[in-house]
Subunit: 356 residues, 2 copies
């Protein structure tokens, strides 16, 4: 009954909520520190919480499907036209639209990068091409151009590794790529990268002049709305109008729409989160130096630390109620830790120092 392509796909097994697993070790929910999904440890803006609370009686009502207000706010923020914007249920969904719209035979990405590129590409049976390095190495991308990818993914900065290319270098690369190849620039952590180093900053309006660039951004990270599933794509009208053809109506919730609109009006919360993030990140870097652990300089809200045995270490941390991401699945003997609040990080250092 089902398409043959499904046979090659493995089911994404979420398993029991990790909180339940931790509770099996007798740890109280309030004592669990989850630093595994790069959520904003400062939560989200109080203004957003207030405004969303006010409209819980509107949960029965479909959202405004034109997403007029949200697009207005994004247009203003990025100095682009509303016709250059598409909203997705997370930027994931914009990636999904793009992949289904192009139906690529081959896609190209860094060896270690955001898992959904490969997952969505496999949904339509595309061949996955990867560069050799875990980092984005543009020379390796150049070499692979002769394999004729239809889509190239650049994750800037790169999840789950943390590094980030300079925009100048990316722009040179873009100019070497055939105009018929769609280049997707995933800027999920751009707010962090551009704060740390202006050379990493991508201005979405600068990509509009290219025929073949799609920029994606999200409210899940710096804006602290990971649970609300709102992201966006920015590109020229030709690209956006094509992606729009595959967008299901009402693809974000009524409360998510409100949350993201209000979030854009409270940049102070975002800036404060980012500032704190890098103050706390310094503590992780110092911890690593003290302990002689190799880490990757990060332009995000997480840090990737190489360890002796990442699987053993993550398990040991789990038993203490600290949830981190084991990167063994990416063939990296490393753990990825979301930078938490001062209090959370204190606890992490206290426990981690006994283990490494």
């Amino acid at each position: 009954m089902f398409s043959q392509k499904l046979e090659k796909l493995t089911t994404y097994e979420a398993g029991k909520p990790i909180e339940l697993v931790v509770r099996e070790y007798g740890i109280k929910p309030k004592d669990i520190i989850k630093l595994a999904s790069n959520e904003n440890p400062y939560g989200c803006s109080k203004k957003v919480q207030e405004e969303v609370s006010k409209i819980v009686d509107q949960m029965s009502v479909y959202p405004d499907d034109s997403m007029y207000e949200l697009k207005e706010a994004l247009s203003k923020k990025f100095s682009v036209n509303d016709k250059n914007i598409i909203i997705g249920a997370g930027s994931d969904q914009v990636l999904e639209f793009a992949i289904h719209a192009v139906e690529p035979k081959k896609v190209l990405m860094a060896n270690t990068t955001f898992a959904m590129y490969e997952i969505y590409a496999k949904h339509i049976g595309a061949e996955i091409l990867k560069t050799e390095s875990n980092f984005h190495n543009l020379d390796e991308f150049r070499e692979k151009l002769s394999d004729n990818p239809d889509i190239i993914f650049l994750c800037l900065p790169n999840n789950p590794v943390g590094e980030c290319l300079d925009w100048n270098d990316v722009e040179k690369f873009i100019q070497e790529v055939d105009e018929n190849v769609l280049i997707i620039i995933d800027g999920a952590y751009q707010e962090y990268a551009s704060f740390k180093n202006s050379n990493k900053k991508i201005e979405p309006k600068d990509i509009l002049k290219y025929k073949n660039i799609l920029y994606t951004g999200t409210f899940s990270k710096a804006y602290g709305l990971g649970g609300m599933r709102v992201g966006y794509g920015i590109a020229n009208e030709y690209i956006i109008s094509n992606l729009y053809k595959l967008r299901p109506p009402f693809n974000i919730t009524t409360l998510s729409l409100k949350a993201s609109i209000v979030a854009l009006s409270d940049e102070e919360f975002v800036n404060e989160s980012i500032k704190n993030n890098f103050i706390e990140m310094k503590r992780y870097e110092e911890f690593c130096k003290e302990k002689n652990l190799k880490y990757i300089e990060s332009y995000t809200n997480f840090i990737t630390i190489f360890v002796e045995d990442s699987t053993k270490l993550s398990d040991k941390l789990l038993k203490k109620g600290i949830i981190v991401r084991n990167l063994a699945g990416y063939k990296m003997n490393a753990i990825r830790i979301t930078i938490g609040t001062t209090k959370q990080n204190d606890k992490v250092f206290e426990i981690l120092k006994e283990m490494v």
Copy 2:
């Protein structure tokens, strides 16, 4: 750059929010009566509102992607196993998974039925087969079996028409269809239909014995959570495990997950909504009889009324702040009105009686 299939697709143009249009006529938001999208006019359960309000500080946190609690609650309600359940961002998304999983060459549906069947099927370039009648006529479906559809859609009860087949008749039909053809039974309005007439009731557990039946349900209608985008599919493990391969992680929001779990614990709200719906529907039927308007007996929360000129009438209603669905796009000279609250319906009758 884009797949050729896109050329045949038209963009879903949401346009300006209809509330803005009405405001252009100088009508205050509080005076607008929107009876166009079959939302629950009683909103959603107060318990749901309370519980969602309590977790607005959790908007930064991704939902439990196993959806353990929600599946537990649905399993209990429908006496099925959690492996028989998949959750979608609205039942729409479950339909989308099914269509992408089967990749049908041809799909079969009633002439007038839920628009998304055709839209999603076109996304993958399928040929659309339709029966002649606007109603579901199983003999017409039988005739079309020789055209070899890969998916058959049955909308029970049928949106936007309102009629509903008896389960006994549907079951006979199922047994005549080749086991390799996926039959999707869309039960978005089942809570209403089964309340009105037990012959219309579909027990999802009864479909598990068939190799090829997928049942879909939603929280958007009787449960009053249209804005929260939560639906579900129920089928045998073979079907569900295949659909699961195409499910993106975190496909509903943290607040939607909470809302739907709590909604299932407040059946009193649902029953009260349904009871009121049919009390008020009687008033529409009586109004139609008085005015000599033909209407379709409805098993849903809306009523389809044939009029002299549905486009003119919907426009006239719009100018008075009443938003209904004009079915001219479905080639029916009729309007579809969601059954509102007593107060809303009073206003509708007051205005409508001067127009028809």
